[in-house]
Amino acid sequence: MFARSCSVLCCVMALSACGDGQNDFGRPQGKRAQPVQLVLLEDGRPAPEVLAEEQVVYRGNGEEPETLDPHLAQGVPATRILRDLFEGLTAESAAGDLVPGAALRWNISRDARTYTFYLRRDLVWSNGDPLRADDFVYGLQRAIDPETNSSAARTLLPILNAREVLAGELPVEELGISLLDEFTMQITLTGPTPYFLGLLASPVAFPVHKGNVEALGDQFSKPGNLISNGAFVLTEWTPRVSIVLEKNPRYRQAETTLIERVVYTPTEDRAAEVKQFRSGALDWTNEVPNNQFKWLQANYPDELVTSPWMGSYFLGFNLTQEPFIDNPSLRMALILSVDRQIITEKVTQFGEKPSFALVPPGIDGYVPFSPEYADWAQEERDHEARRLYEQAGYSEENPLRVEIRYNTSDNNKKIALAVASMWKQALGVNATLVNEEFRVFLQNREQKLVTQVFSAGWISDYNDPYSFLEMFRTGHGRNDYGYSNETFDALLDEVGTERVRARRERLMFEAERVLMSDHVIIPIFTYVTKRLVNPHLKGWQNNVMDHHPTQTMFKLKSSEMSSAEKNP
């Protein structure tokens, strides 16, 4: 064993010797350098003299990405990297707005079901091969092909015949995707899907290099093999250590891409991630620990960034079991007696917004439903809650005993604690906490046998309220509430076929209203993204999607040249 570790040690030395000799552990605490003032040229690009010499970004990325095959990737860490590597027909700007990507323009038919895309003429893959419409057709077909076994393919179900192809009933050629000529392609959908253009900017709709995939099989996404069409190319991947991307000189906007290299580091432990950031090893954290808002705000005011996110946190009721089956007054009493102000100010702290409905604000212009009690003071709510609680047959002598179930996470725990304590103080409810590991928790939720109140939450895949409402449909796979309301289902059916945007929004609003008046969930707050960002790093913008392409970023140089500039 010792012989082995010795030989390992020898290769350690060799490896560290042949590395790039980077012995720079960054900027220690205390002598944090300030960036120079940003100066923009007339075309909106930063002036060359304010840019740092070394345009390298180190980004914390949460968990290890599960794959870099764009059609298999689902998790945020993987898709974040893939958006840097590839470009879809459509793309997103730094602000999260939809912009033309590989497609220069597109037409949508009057029935909103057929999309025709006209591609740019000068596109090439990172190996120099020309990129044409058939690459996109191949990509979409591959994503949906049952042989590929993609879970992410569920996002592409709006495409005509996608479900049948996935089920193996039709061949992939029968998909509603057709090649019109070298630069033109058409996609036909089953129904109007306003968010479809947005879906095309996500990895599952990216093209892949056909020759490469067919030659290398499941090895094609490894560094050295992967051919991409985005702003960066994959150069290194050491699992659980880092993924390194370098600028793609053949990318159509290579001229305006300033970052030369991106290093994505997996950061599973938030506290450790923050320490890495503070030691200068990261420019961008995936998250920050929960309790430290005040401390970070006092010590890292320039670095701490929070911004609304398109997700909601809520607790769900299991409507199929006692005590909540057919007991709307009890559910309402519990909904009312949660003091959301305290939870967002004292528990979550990072500027989360108290919420009273399902859909978070800021999603594609949709204004969420707001119930009457949203405007009440908490005492009023508690008062009404006590009335309803007693109406439901409970009292101090006969208190409700209930379990709050949540999956293991610090925030879930604290919120459950807070809610339990509020119920106890307002109503005298005896709530116990049940903490479960994620998969067990999901299974229990789905089976609806042991759950009573459980933590839930939803962060949308795409910029549309439908993503939130959908899961309350009768029989939906994630309808862990056992909710079933014909009016609600009918409204959602209508949403699926409605082409006029304003009418569609009204239908969704109405559906949300129906849902909320059935007291199915306890809305708590809407999410924010929270992270530390090196103030030298500019060119990115907060957005509700939390998508931040590295392509638009750049690094400013420090104002105190002498002491703080990183030595190469």
Partner: protein, 314 residues
């Protein structure tokens, strides 16, 4: 005679590896499979069509027993299969990358702990019940009195965040990145070994043959080195097998806090994600490592202690 016994013992032990592994695989296979939830359960549920394809692809739609024999047939060829979670890697690749890291950190920590621990323990035993004894052992004991997950962030704060001497985490096979994890990992083991050494050293020092050796007028130094040391570290050797195995594979806390790509974190992630192939692969590999380490410890023990006769039949 004795040599032959040791060899025979070795052969028996190595042959014994096969049933051990079989039992191990069987228990592990069925335990992970009765755990609730599956590898494809996620918050965003899959349409049934996709779910069916995935299950068929990974043979999860077959009866469990059939899957078990399929798995046995597969690992006989040394193939642990593809990881469910990390789709671009096979389990073999992940182990091949994770184990050298874990082994390096664990091995270095063990070496450090052994040297420091026996030195401290012997030193304290010689000065039994003196102020020196208490203070040396007291300091060593800090290692087992403060959890790793407190020590590690403190070390990072001190050496990386504030002083900037060492990196705060990550891995690139450079010595700078090994220092903190190795030290953190070694601290509790130093304390254990120091205590074990002190305890048995005191016992040995009171034994007749040491008195005899002293009476013969041998210098104290030589008494310790030539006569007392070997028998005194016997309990330490017993302890080292499992401890090394635990260090190499179980340093999940360290791996997490220092962002080190070792085997331990793959295992925990695998178990939480129900990554059946990865969990089983790591468990089986871990099993082999432990059996081998225990075997080495047995040999060491036999070598150090002439009283054990393996060829003895009761």
């Amino acid at each position: 005679m004795k040599q032959a016994g040791v060899f025979r013992h070795a052969a028996v032990r190595l042959l014994g590896l096969i049933p051990t592994l079989l039992v191990l695989i069987t228990i592990a296979f069925f335990l992970i499979r009765i755990a609730p939830g599956g590898p494809f359960d996620a918050e965003k549920v899959l349409p049934p069509e996709i779910r069916a394809n995935l299950d068929a692809n990974y043979h999860l739609d077959e009866p469990l027993l059939q899957q078990y024999f399929r798995y046995l047939g597969q690992i006989v060829t040394g193939d642990f299969g593809p990881s469910f979670q990390y789709k671009d890697w096979t389990v073999n690749e992940l182990i091949a990358r994770g184990f050298p890291v874990s082994a390096t950190i664990g091995g270095l920590a063990m070496a450090l702990a052994f040297v420091l621990g026996t030195l401290i323990g012997t030193f304290a035993a010689l000065k039994q019940n003196s102020v020196i004894d208490y203070s040396v052992m007291g300091v060593a004991m800090l290692g087992i009195s403060i959890p790793n997950f407190v020590v590690a962030p403190l070390l990072i704060l001190g050496t990386a965040v504030y002083a900037g001497w060492l990196p705060a985490g990550g891995w690139d096979w450079s010595w700078q990145r090994m220092v903190l994890p190795v030290v953190t990992l070694a601290l509790p083991v130093v304390a254990y070994i120091a205590r074990l050494t002190r305890g048995s050293m005191i016992e040995v020092l009171h034994s007749n043959y040491i008195r005899t050796a002293r009476a013969k007028g041998l210098p104290e130094r030589q008494v310790i080195r030539r006569h007392a040391f070997k028998p005194a570290i016997l309990p330490v050797i017993s302890y080292m097998g499992p401890a090394t195995a635990a260090l190499i594979t179980g340093s999940v806390v360290i791996e997490r806090i220092y962002s080190i790509p070792g085997l331990g974190s793959y295992f925990v992630q695998g178990a939480l994600n129900r990554d059946y192939t990865l969990v089983l692969g790591v468990v089986i590999f871990y099993g082999i490592v432990i059996v081998v380490l225990n075997f080495i410890v047995d040999l060491l023990y036999a070598w150090l202690n002439p009283r054990i006769r393996y060829d003895e039949a009761q």
